[in-house]
């Protein structure tokens, strides 16, 4: 689809992920229920993409297909020229909650995917990511003693530690309070700008999408189809009160089918 303006992405971006006419249908009471229909889009390397839609429209299903956890009924996902067959450490999914392993410390979680590395390097990497997410001093802490925001940061660090190409986030901030959510968005952007990866972020929060994404994929529901793909061409850091921001946000609200007043 369309290229973004040069503000935030390289001029000639390599294509990272292509979804081709994805369809997913489930059997329910011996009837076939179509959840996703004809989803097609491209994502460039290093892009930050948000997928928005109402709750239950199938966004998470789409993400699971892109991550390889679910096989589509038809269509395919091609990453770096290869079709996706299953989950792979090169593309890690971050869940909304309960994703960290409660029996491992912060260090243990971050180091989870690093067992093949020699010890010194593993420790070095773990330390690097502990610092990146701001959890110094909590290395030996167990997740039950961490706040929700800290646990989500931990998940992200665990994911990044294995150097994936793509990061999928499934409403990763949905379980946090709204103030923590703002902080986490800043953090995520900071991390993304430091270690450039492709990010696909599923959310039902319109503001979140406009604040974070290069492009926003809008899904309808029942079944989910691509309504539109909106380009957010605001320079970062984004002013969330600027007229252009509000304009884009209103456009999205309109897409989703919501009025402008409560």
């Amino acid at each position: 689809m369309s290229l973004t303006n040069a503000a935030n992405t390289p001029a000639v971006a390599a294509m990272k992920l292509r979804a081709e006419q994805l369809c997913v249908a489930f059997e329910r009471d011996s009837k076939s229920v179509s959840v996703l229909e004809d989803i097609t889009f491209d994502i460039s390397d290093g892009e930050f993409i948000c997928i928005v839609g109402r709750s239950g429209c199938g966004k998470s299903t789409l993400l699971n297909v892109l991550a390889g956890f679910l096989a589509p009924t038809s269509g395919s996902v091609i990453i770096d020229g290869e079709p996706v067959h299953g989950p792979d450490p090169r593309r890690i999914l971050v869940f909304q909650e309960h994703g960290v392993f409660p029996w491992l410390t912060v260090e243990g979680n971050i180091g989870f995917g690093l067992s093949k590395l020699p010890r010194a390097e593993r420790e070095h990497r773990v330390a690097h990511y502990v610092q990146m997410i701001g959890l110094q001093g909590f290395e030996r802490t167990y997740p039950s003693d961490l706040s929700g925001g800290m646990k989500q940061r931990l998940q992200v660090a665990r994911a990044l530690a294995v150097n994936p190409d793509i990061l999928y986030l499934d409403e990763a901030f949905g379980a946090l309070d709204s103030i923590t959510r703002l902080t986490m968005r800043k953090e995520l952007l900071r991390i993304w700008q430091t270690e450039r990866r492709t990010i696909i972020f599923v959310t039902h929060d319109i503001d979140e999408a406009v604040q974070l994404a290069d492009r926003v994929v809008v899904l309808s529901s029942n079944p989910a189809r691509i309504e539109d793909i909106l380009t957010i061409d605001i320079r970062r850091p984004r002013n969330i009160s600027s007229p252009h921001y509000l304009e884009l946000r209103d456009k999205l609200l309109e897409q989703i089918g919501q009025a402008y007043t409560v």
Binding site: L93, W103, L104, Y142
Partner: protein
């Protein structure tokens, strides 16, 4: 819970001691009042216990009972945990095997005594076999339950990070199921302790259970009977508490709700 004020620290010791003292007093009075010369009073029991300690027989009996439990329980754990984990991971296998387990489980280990005696003769091994039976089923069922209640998120994450099936079992499924497995083990240990006492009454000639029966049969020494019963209770409690302390370890503590 109720509108009374929060209990103070010293009350933690005061009330149980008071209750125990009351119990002893009532017991003592009942014995005196009914004029029985068979049922022992608390003092008789205390003297009986001292007597056992002096004779040195007591430690042998305790040792025998504990040893049998250790072997039987150990065998049940070593065979039951892998089986339970496997059944939990492969629902098809579980579907096949579970009915057999459900039929065997309600058969009291004591009912197996004749079979045990045929297979192992009268003695230690028969008792250990019974304990094994008593502990085996709860352990297997707890493992199955533990594995199937591991949230799918954990397994998906494991696969996402490229773990093979064996690695998944060792590094994700097992630690995630461990709290439930520990509960199953603790319950099984409690059962083992109950079974050993029963088994010793019938199939062997040493141990605390035997002490209970023997004290009655050879001389109506009810003071020793009660003394043995109390010891059984106390040791069983110690075993239980020991296991519960394991539940406080950091790598499993997350699985237990903080009980008030």
């Amino acid at each position: 819970m109720n509108s009374l004020s929060k209990p103070r620290n010293w009350e933690k010791y005061f009330w149980p001691v008071l209750a125990a003292a009351l119990l002893f007093a009532i017991w003592h009075y009942c014995v005196v009042w009914t004029g029985t010369n068979i049922f022992p009073s608390p003092l008789d029991v205390e003297k009986g216990m001292a007597e056992l300690l002096h004779k040195g027989v007591l430690w042998d009996d305790i040792g025998d009972s504990v040893r049998r439990v250790a072997v039987g329980f150990g065998a049940a754990a070593v065979t039951g945990i892998p089986l339970g984990l496997t059944l939990g991971l492969y629902p098809a296998a579980n579907q096949m095997v579970n009915p057999v387990l459900q039929i065997l489980r309600p058969i009291s280990p004591i009912a197996w005594i004749p079979i045990a005696i045929i297979l192992f003769g009268v003695g230690d091994r028969a008792a250990v076999f019974l304990i094994f039976l008593g502990a085996f089923f709860p352990i297997v069922l707890a493992c199955v339950s533990g594995v199937s209640s591991v949230p799918s998120i954990f397994q998906r994450t494991g696969r996402n990070f490229g773990l093979s099936s064996t690695q998944l079992l060792a590094r994700v499924v097992f630690p995630a199921a461990l709290p439930q497995i520990l509960i199953g083990l603790r319950i099984a240990l409690g059962i083992a302790w109950v079974v050993v006492v029963a088994a010793e009454m019938i199939a062997v000639e040493s141990g605390l259970g035997y002490l209970v029966i023997d004290s009655r049969n050879s001389g109506k020494r009810y003071d020793l009977v009660i003394a043995a019963m109390l010891l059984i209770g106390v040791i069983g409690l110690i075993l239980d508490l020991g296991f519960r302390s394991l539940e406080g370890l950091p790598s499993v503590r997350w699985g237990f709700r903080h009980e008030s």
